[in-house]
Amino acid sequence: MGYRIRRWIADHWVLAVAALVLGYLLLPVVVVAGLSFNRPSSRLTYDFHEFTLDNWRNPCAAPGMCEAVWRSVQIGFLTTVISTVLGTLLAFALVRHGFRGRTAVNLLVLAPMATPEVVLGTSLLALLVAARVPLGFWTVVIAHVMFCISFVVMTVRARLSGMDPRLEEAALDLYASEWQAFLRVTLPLALPGIVAAALLAFSLSFDDFVVTNFTSGTTVTFPMYVWGANQRGIPPQVNVIGTAMFVVSLLLMLGTALRRRRPGRRAGRAGGPRPVRLRAAAPAPAPVSRSGRGHHGG
């Protein structure tokens, strides 16, 4: 009997540990959601006190928070558009064309991801100050685009390299000019990757703190608002925003996952097992947030 128990433990202890770790990962998320329904006992304490729906009913009651969120949305939108365009062009050049200096461009694109965010932020600040450029909304956009390009390139590139180059040749063979081949074959097939890259860029920009902190001057984004609030007293509404971000991301992720289940929506391959898409960067379509950037942030 003791043997059976020992066997059971031996077989299952790994599962137990994994479950605990999973709990560790999900606990703060649950806490954030819980805190969004919390009325704290005072401005300076940050623990559970009383249940309330007020935070959700008046999310903008916290002074300056909604402006900060809106600022983050605006910056995020601009960053997404610019970095997606620039990054997609780069990705196409790197995947579909051979040219002199290709290795250098590859390194240039890879470098920001390998650089600590502190270094990215401070170096840009140093340049802006030396060039006497006033810090504000636009310098943040510039900074965000800078580090988002790398992620856009990685994401689009992954999609493109999975695409059979013969497809474009087939289009040419079937009387499509280079431009038509691009428009009717390459672009539709690359689109999911481009959309994923755009979502990734938005989430990276929206949640960036470190680089933004150095380059924003007096402009306040949502992460910076929270940072500042740490001294003044954290309004519970930040958890409303946090929870809202979570729900939106989750819905987007489910949405794309459901769309994928429709038959025939695969690029460059006829059927085959559904790939478990995983890269250290992010699961493709979901807006993901971290301390500003992916691998080498913070």
Binding site: T45, Y46, V118, G297
Partner: protein, 284 residues
């Protein structure tokens, strides 16, 4: 499309993005180096003079070496914890989860769906003095009756580990998922017990993932200062806090720049040394 235009095309595609990166990434890097060599006696209002003040470096390191050490100590600790915690999770998802794989993966990246700062703040509530965790630890005497977890290295490291755990789990998962199950069967066929199978087959083959995960965790963790600021005191401050203060509070640009450059160089050296040690081919 003419031949000439076709040959020019890649350069045209690269130009906008490439230019942006050169101007806003490379150039600032150069400027950072330059700033680190400015005369420390200057100021933002009066302007800085370039005096090739290499002395800024030893000065900065001498003043803040504790923070450097602390940063890598916390980051190293967090990485080790992330490995110990993350590997079993990655293992289960890759090799034991079957149909639940995708759901579990979503759970792993779920924390990243909310704001970094907001979820770090959640630890303030979890580890609060009046919270269940502190209560339990006091109960079992792992903590003094008036002991705290907040404003301590424990809280900071816990938070850092938490925030970068997905970056450890995902590469290891990817590595394990690529594993050919038949190798495990072959090992069992050759009389290896489960622990031995793991030690001799599974773990070595997952090394690329482990190496990638380690790097992806320790590099950002070393520069992180959000956890230290939100959950710690100046006694727990890391080099990131110092650099933040240098640029934004004390406005001591040359020193801040010197510290940034040192951080970058140390991380670079660590990465190269680490990769060389494990063999670059291992990186997945």
């Amino acid at each position: 499309m003419t031949g000439a235009r076709r040959r020019l095309l890649p350069y045209l595609l690269v130009l906008p993005g490439g230019l942006w990166l050169v101007v806003f990434f490379l150039l600032p890097a150069v400027q950072l180096g330059a700033t680190s060599l400015y005369d420390p006696a200057g100021s933002l209002t009066d302007g800085y003079e370039m005096t090739w003040a290499f002395g800024n470096y030893p000065d900065a390191v001498r003043t803040y070496w504790v923070h450097f050490v602390r940063s890598f100590w916390y980051a190293g600790l967090a990485t080790a914890l992330a490995l110990v915690l993350g590997y079993p999770l990655a293992y289960v998802i890759a090799l034991r989860a079957g149909r639940w794989q995708n759901l579990l993966l979503v759970c792993v990246v779920a924390p990243m769906f909310t704001s970094f700062l907001v979820r770090t703040l959640a630890w303030k509530a979890i580890l609060a003095d009046t919270g269940p965790v502190v209560g339990l630890l006091r109960e079992v005497h792992l903590l003094a009756p008036d002991g705290r977890l907040l404003a301590s290295p424990v809280a900071v490291v816990t938070s850092i580990t938490y925030n970068y755990l997905p970056f450890m789990v995902l590469p290891i998962y990817a590595s394990l998922q690529r594993l050919d199950r038949r190798l495990l069967e072959a090992a069992r066929d050759l009389n290896a017990r489960p622990v031995q199978v793991f030690r001799t087959v599974t773990f070595p083959l997952s090394m690329p993932g482990v190496v990638a995960g380690t790097l992806l965790t320790i590099i950002p963790a070393a520069g992180d200062y959000i956890s230290a600021e939100l959950l710690g005191t100046p006694r727990e401050y890391m080099i990131g806090n110092v650099i933040d203060a240098a640029f934004l509070v004390r406005l001591d640009y040359p020193q801040g720049a010197a510290l940034s450059v040192v951080l970058l160089l140390v991380i670079l050296a660590l990465t190269i040394g680490y990769l060389r040690r494990v063999g670059v081919e291992e990186v997945g």
